[in-house]
Symmetry: C2
Subunit: 116 residues, 2 copies
Amino acid sequence: MANQDCVFCKIVAGELPSNQVYQDDLVTAFRDNHPLAPTHILIVPNEHLINANDLNRDHADVAARMLTIIPEIAKKEGVAESGYRLIMNAGPDGNQVVMHMHMHLLAGHRMRHPMG
Amino acid sequence: MANQDCVFCKIVAGELPSNQVYQDDLVTAFRDNHPLAPTHILIVPNEHLINANDLNRDHADVAARMLTIIPEIAKKEGVAESGYRLIMNAGPDGNQVVMHMHMHLLAGHRMRHPMG
């Protein structure tokens, strides 16, 4: 179910423009407008989930899809072998900014920052 | 299938000690020995997969489980509301160190480092 005030819901629905790289019945992937690496893609569930706290066992299909499309996207972007970092932030300590769950795929240079 | 030279395979099998926080038929979670945040847990598939490049659509069950157990672990650790960051590194640019796929759950302080 879409949230009417959510930017990512609007991108999923095509009501806001995006540089889309993948879409299917469960997830949408598009380029981050403020990339933090040469390749910076966001993978989001089409359904409005807030963050990983919403991923209970009823969401197995969308949870699986968010990860199993990563190899396809990485290959298409030419970064499967060179490598990448996947990040999902949740809540205040995770510095989550947009309150529609999203996974960052960062690639194209060696990750510069420590985790944590 | 376990890899005989893999530290995480040995931890999954109980052949090496770990501070385990969760285990089921598909995944195992245990505390990182060199924590980068007050809470630092690793979630790994029981099967020896190298990284997310191995997560093709045949691995939907384990991919789903790796994400759908996060809310349970976060709640048990008392960090669901304060928030957390999930990270999976793949290959050289991701600075992947152990070649058995693993997801970091980092929490307990506000994430200090930028992504990318």
